[in-house]
Symmetry: D3
Subunit: 170 residues, 6 copies
C-alpha cells in the first residue's frame, strides 16, 4: 500500500518526521507532495521547492527512516480546486490512500474517490510551520522543533534572514 | 558533488540506466529531472510524470544502484528558454554539475554558469526514446531496450495501447 | 437586442432570477456569463462553473422564463482588467448591451464602448450571494432566497458541507 | 441520461447536426463542449468560441431540435491530457456518457471512468471541418455542408475572408 | 555602467523623477522596469503599463533628463520569486547594477549576483504611490507630488474616476 | 500622430531601419512592439526580448533617427488572437495607426477599429529575418543586412553560435 502525504513543508519539522514515520509503519511506501512548489521568499512560503526537497531528505535521515520507500515530489499550485487532485495524480506514482489533517484536502481527495486517513496530531503539526516562522521573527528558539541537520541546513541557506526580509518594509 | 541529469524519459530505458550508473560512479548524488512533466498521452510524451517517476525508481533498482543517493524531480515546461534553468533550480536541491548530451540544454546551463559534462553515448541514448516508441507502433521487440521490471510496468499500464491511440485517427 | 449579464452566481438566487426576467422583458435574448469559472470549493466560490450552469438552468425553469432566448457561458478569470472585456467577447455571442450593478464591470465595458444598463436592486442582489453563504455557516434559512429546485439541487450536491469545509481549520 | 459531446466545431456543420439529433433521440439532454475555446483567426480554428456558440444555436434551430435540452459550453485548452477530463467536468453540468469518434478523447474519458459511445459516421463528420475550410480556400461550395442560417451567419461575419487571411503571406 | 530601476509607478511621481536623475548622474544609462505590468483598474494598480510608460516619458521630460539614455520596459508578474530576476533579465538590455529600496527586490537581485544600490529616500518615495492614491480618494491635492504634465495626463485619462471606481461597492 | 510598429525583430535589420525612418517621416512618434518577447534560443527566435531592445536602440542610432520620438516595448505572446490587440494596448502608450505588412496583424487591428498602413517592401523586410538566420547557418555574409553596430553587438553576444546550437542534434 502506498500513501500520499501532501504539505507545504515551510519548513519540514519534527511533526512532519513523526507523520512520515507513522505512515511508513502502516504503508509500504510514501509519496511526500511538496505543494505550492512555485512559491519562495515570502513569509508564508520562505523556502523554494528544491530547498524543501533537500530538507525533507535530511529529516528522513535524522529520523532513521527508510528513504528507499520514499518519493519526494514538488507540485506547483494550479489554482483550481476541482482539478487539483487530478493534477497531483499526474505528477506522482499511483497511490492507495491519502494522509492529511487539512479539511479541504480531505474533501477534494474523497470527492476524487480516495480513502483519506488522518494522522495523529503530532504537536499540532499543521500549524507548527507558521509558529516556527513566527519564532524566527521574534527571536525564539525555532530550531528546537527541527532535527539537527535540518536546522543546520536552514541556517546555512539564510532561512532567518530570508524570513526577516519577507516582512521588512522600506 | 551533486549532478543534475535532465531528460524526458519517454520511457526510461537501459541507456538512461547506464548514464545514471556512470554519474553515480563520479558524483555523490544525482538529481534526475523529468522534463515536460505536464505532458502525457501523446506519441512524443506517452507517459505521465508520475509514471516516469515510478519507472525510474524501478530502473534504478534493476541496475542495483543506490537510491539513497538519488532525487527524482518532475518539472513542467515553462516555454521560455532564458528562464528555464532558473525554473529548474527552484524545483531541485543545489547541484554542482549538469550532465547532458543535448546541445541546447548544455548552452542554457553554461550561460547560467554551470559546468556541463557529456556522458558517453550509451547506445545513442538521446534518440533511443523515439526509436523505442516507434518500435511499439511497428510491433518490434521494444522491451529489449528496457529492464525487465520497467518493461513489465509499462505493459501493465497499457503503454502499447496508449501509443497506438496517440497516432490513431477516426 | 441581446444583453450580457455577468456574475459569479455563488449561488444563483431569486435576485438573479428577477434580473434575468427583467432583462428578457426588455431584450430579445440574454447571455449569462458565469465569471471566475475556474474557482470552486472556497467560501467565496463554493460551486464549480458546471454546478452554477446547472443551477441557473433550474432557476430559469422555476421562474418560467424562456430558455430558448438564453445562453449560459462560463468564463475563467484572466487576471488582467484591461483585457477582460475582450476576453469575455471571445467566449460569447455578439451582444448589444451590458447589465450590471458592479462599478468596475460598468467602467470596463463602457471603456470598451458598450452601453451599460443597471438593473433594479432586487433585494440587494449583488450582496445576496455573500449573505446566503454566511447563512449556511450560521445555520440560517438560506434556502428561502433560492427557488425550490435550486435549493434542492444544492442540498443534494453537498453545498452546506462544502461551505463548512471551506472555513474549517485543523 | 445526459450526454457530453465535445468538438471544435470549426465550423458547426450538418454532420454535427445529425450527431446532436442522434444523441437527443437517445438521451434526455446534451452538453455540447466547444474545445480549444481560446483559439480563433487561424486556418485550424477560424471562429471564436462565441461565434461557434452562436452558430451551434442556429444549427439546432435549423435541425428543429429541442434547445431546452441543450447546454453549449466553451472550454479553453489546458494543454495537459491527464487533467483535461477533470477540467471539462469543472465547466459543465454532471453527465452520464460521452459521445465521440476521437480515439484520444475516448481513451481519456474511459480512463476517467466514463462510458463512451461512438456516433455513426455521418458523412465522415470528424474530418468534415477541415474539408469545409479547404473548400473555402479553393472556392468550392462549402455552404452546402452547412444549414442555411449557419452558412448565412458565417458569410456575414467574414468567415471566407478570415480563412484566406489565415493562410496569407506577405 | 547601466542601472536597472524597478518599480510599479502607480503613478510616476516626483520621487521617481529624483531617483532617475540621481541614477543618471552616476550611470551612463538606466532601464526603468515597470513591474506588475498586467495590472490596472484596481486601487493598488490603477494605471495600465502603457499609461505608466507614457507618464514616465513625460516625467523624464519635465525633469529635463536625457531620454536617449533611458529604456522604459514593462514586465508582467511571474508569481515566482526565485525566477523573477531571470524573467526580468529576459525582457531588458544587460545591466550592471540594480537601484532599489525594496528589501525583497534587493535580496533577490543579490542572490542573482548583482550589486544593489539604495537611492536616497526622496520624500519616502517607496510609499508615496499609496499616499498619492489615497489623497485622490480623500480629495487631497495629489497633483502637487507629480510634475505638471504627468498630473495633466492623469487627469485627462480619468485617473481620479478610476481610483474611485476601484473602491466603490454597489 | 503616433504609430505602432509590431514585429519579432529576429534580428533587427536594415529593412526595419528603413521602416522606422519611413514612419518617423509621417508620424510624430513610434511604438516599436517586440512580439514573442518570452522566446529566445530557438532558430525562429534566437534573441531574448532584452537583446532585441538593445539592438533596436543601436539600429536607431545607426540610422541617425530621433530616439526621443521612440518607444520600444516587449510584449509576450498571449496565444489568443481575439484578445491580442487589447493585450498589446495594455502594454503601450495610446496610438493612432498601425504599420504592418502581416495580413493577420492587419486583420486583427482593423477588427479592433484601428487604421492600418502598409509600409513599402524594403527588401522584402518581413521575410528578411528568416533569410538572415539561414545565412548564419550556411556561412553567408549575414552582417551585410544589418547596420555595423547591430552586427557587432550580435557577434559579441554569440548570435552565430546560438543559432547553430538551436538546430544542432546529438
Amino acid at each position: 500500500m502506498r500513501a500520499l502525504f501532501p504539505g507545504r513543508f515551510q519548513p519540514p519539522h519534527k511533526g512532519h518526521g513523526e507523520t512520515i514515520k507513522w505512515i511508513l509503519e502502516r504503508c509500504d511506501s510514501i509519496i511526500i507532495v511538496i505543494g505550492s512548489a512555485q512559491e519562495s521568499h515570502t513569509f508564508q512560503n520562505p523556502l523554494t521547492a528544491g530547498e524543501r526537497v533537500e530538507a525533507l531528505k535530511l529529516l528522513i535521515e535524522d529520523f532513521s527512516l527508510d528513504y528507499t520507500r520514499v518519493f519526494i515530489i514538488p507540485v506547483p499550485d494550479i489554482f483550481m480546486n476541482k482539478v487539483w487532485t487530478r493534477f497531483v495524480e499526474a505528477f506522482v506514482p499511483r497511490f492507495d490512500v491519502v494522509v492529511t489533517r487539512n479539511p479541504l484536502v480531505r474533501e477534494l481527495f474523497e470527492e476524487a474517490g480516495y480513502k483519506v486517513l488522518q494522522q495523529p496530531s503530532f504537536n499540532r503539526a499543521l500549524l507548527m510551520g507558521t509558529n516556527i516562522r513566527r519564532m524566527v521573527i521574534e527571536g525564539g528558539e525555532w530550531w528546537r522543533y527541527l532535527t539537527p541537520r535540518v536546522a543546520s541546513f536552514l541556517k546555512n541557506i539564510g532561512f532567518e534572514e530570508r524570513l526577516k526580509t519577507a516582512i521588512a518594509r522600506d
